[in-house]
Symmetry: C2
Subunit: 367 residues, 2 copies
Amino acid sequence: MSSLPAIPPFSVECAERARRHQAQLTKPVGSLGRLEELAAFYAGSRGEFPIAVPVRLLVPVFGGDHGVTAEGVSAFPANLSTPILQNVADGGAAISVLARHFGIDVLAVDVGLDGQLLSSARAQVPMLERKVRRGSRNMLHENALTRREGEAALAVGIELARDRARNGLDVAGIGEVGIGNTTASAALIAAFSGRAAANVTGHGTGLDTVGLAHKIEVVEGAVRRVASHTSPLEVACALGGLEIMAMAGFIIGCASMRVPVVLDGVIAAAAALIAERLVPGVREHLVAAHRSSEPGLLVACEELALTPLLDLGMRLGEGTGSVLGLVLLRASVMVMNQMATFSSAKLTTEDHSKGSLSLGLGGVSHR
Amino acid sequence: MSSLPAIPPFSVECAERARRHQAQLTKPVGSLGRLEELAAFYAGSRGEFPIAVPVRLLVPVFGGDHGVTAEGVSAFPANLSTPILQNVADGGAAISVLARHFGIDVLAVDVGLDGQLLSSARAQVPMLERKVRRGSRNMLHENALTRREGEAALAVGIELARDRARNGLDVAGIGEVGIGNTTASAALIAAFSGRAAANVTGHGTGLDTVGLAHKIEVVEGAVRRVASHTSPLEVACALGGLEIMAMAGFIIGCASMRVPVVLDGVIAAAAALIAERLVPGVREHLVAAHRSSEPGLLVACEELALTPLLDLGMRLGEGTGSVLGLVLLRASVMVMNQMATFSSAKLTTEDHSKGSLSLGLGGVSHR
C-alpha cells in the first residue's frame, strides 16, 4: 500500500481565524451552535481563511453486492442492489430528489454489483462503471475480497476523489447501495473497535428480532474468523465489500486533497474507520451527518471522535443523510461570509433611540 | 375575544393517505424517519392529498421591547432591539442570509419596538410598521400590556397571517427580536405549565450564573404577581411582550387558514402556548424546528405535544431555527412527490441479473 496518499493536517489556525471572525458577527457568540463549528471545520479542513462558500458538491453512490447475503441477513433480496442503484441513476431515489433540489451532484458508481447498470433515457445521474468483481465472497466462510481486489476497489475511490478534487470539488458526501452491507459494516466496526457484535449490529433495512439475532451470529462468526488478521488492510479485505473499500478510498482521496467529506450512516462510518486505520489523520477532514438507528454508527463515530449533526431517525443509506449534512455545511459558510459584523452593520443604538449604548458591543460580541 | 378565528381540524385522513403513498416509494418503509412524518404532517395540516411542494414560505420577524429589562435580565442592552431588527431588514442577520439562500421570504414587523426602523438603501427585507406601543411595561411590577394593547398586538399577527394565506402562503416560520423576551417567555411558560421558574429559565443571549439566578427571581416574582389571573388572555397580557402576542396571533391566523407554522425557539414556543390556550387545536398545525439551549422550550413543547426536529445547539432566535425546519419540511414533500414508487421504477431484478425476484416487493415495501 505504498500508493496511499499523505493526508495534509487540519489547519487549526484557519479554523481559529474562522472562529474569531464569527465572534464579530451580529449575534451572541456561539449562538449558532454547530453551524459555527461547521464553518470553522470547513476552513480548517480546506486550510483557507477567508474561504468561499462551496459551490461544487458531489455525493458519489457506490454500489456493490455481498456474498454474505447467502446467510439470509437482509430483509431485502440480494439481487435488488443493481435496480436500486439504477433507480438512483434514473432520478427516482430519495438521494436523487434531495440532491437535485439542493444543487448537489450525484454519481452512481458500480464498483462491485452483481448485475449491470443500464444506460436509459431516464438517466438523470451520471454513471461510472468501475466494476472490480461481481460482488464479494461470503465473509462468514472466506475472505470477502482478495488483497488485490480490495486494493483495486480502494484505488477506484482514491482516483475518483483526486480527479474530482483537481477539477474543483469543494466538499463531498458519500453514499452506497449494497444489500447486505450493514452486516459487513457491523463486522468491520466490531473488528476495528473490539466491541461485541451485539453492540454494533442493527436491523438494517427492516429485520425482525429473530432476523437480527441471526445477523449478530453471522457478524460474530465473521469477526472470529478474522481474529488472526493483523493489518487493517487484511481485516478490511476479509470483511469489507467492494463498495465499502471504494468508499474508504474515496474518503482517503478527498482528505488527501483537503476536500472534507460529510459521512452518511453506518456503512460510510465503517468505510471511514477503514480509511482512518489505513492512513491516520483522515478523520480530521470528516463530518458525521446524522445518527441513524444502526448502533454501529455511534461506535464508529466514537472511534473517529465525531459527533453526528442530525438525528432524524433516517436509515435509508444511499447518501441521503449526507446530502442534508452538506446543505447545513454550505449554509454555515454562507452565514459566516455574508452576515454583517457589529462594525459593518453599525449596530449601535444612536440612530434609533434616545438612549446611548452603555455596554461595549465589542465586549458583548466576544463573550 | 369573539374575533378569534376557528381552527380547522388536522386531517387525519390526508396524513394517512400521505403515509400510504410513502409506503410505496423505493425505500424501506419508515427509513426516512422524521422526513416522512413531516410530509404526512404537511398533508394533514393543509387538508390535501396529493399536495404540491410548498413554494411560498415566509418567516415574519416580530420586534418588541420589554419593560422587564429594567431588572437587568439580559446580557445585551435593551436599546439594541431596534438596530438588531434593522439588521434583519438590511440583510445582515443570520436569518436574512439563510432565508435568502433557501428561497424563503422574511418580513420585519415592528409591533412594539421602543425605537424606529429606518428605510435604508441597504434594506433587503420588507418592513411592516404596526407599532402598538413603544415596548411593554415591567411585568415584575405591573401588567406588561393592557388587555386592549394585548388584543391589538394579537390582531396584528392574525391579520398578517390571514392576509398572506389568502395570497397563497403555503407554510410559515416565525421569528422575533426583543431584548428581554426570553424572560417574558419563561414567565409565560411557567404560568401556563405550572412549572417552577428555575425549570424554565435559561441563559438567554449569554447571562452568567449570577445573572441567571437573578433572572429566575424576576420570573418567579412576575409569575407570583399574576397568580390570581384566570383567563389565558389575562395571563398573556400580564407577562407577554408585544412581539410575543403578535406571534401568538400569527400562529392562530395561520392555523385558521391551514397554513402550518414551523416554530423557532423558546419565544415562539411561548407564543404557541398562548395561541393553544386561547384557541385549542392550534398545536395540531405546528412543528417545533429545534431544541435550543433554553430549558423552557422543552417544557412548552411538552405542553404542546411537539418533538423538536433538530438539535444544533442554536440559541440565536430571529427565526433562524425555523428556516432550517422549513427547509426540511419542503424537502420532505419534494421527496414524497418526486421519488419513484416500486411500480413506477419497475424496481425488479429482471433486467439486471440472472436471478428472479422471489420476495414480493409490494410485501417488502409495506413492512
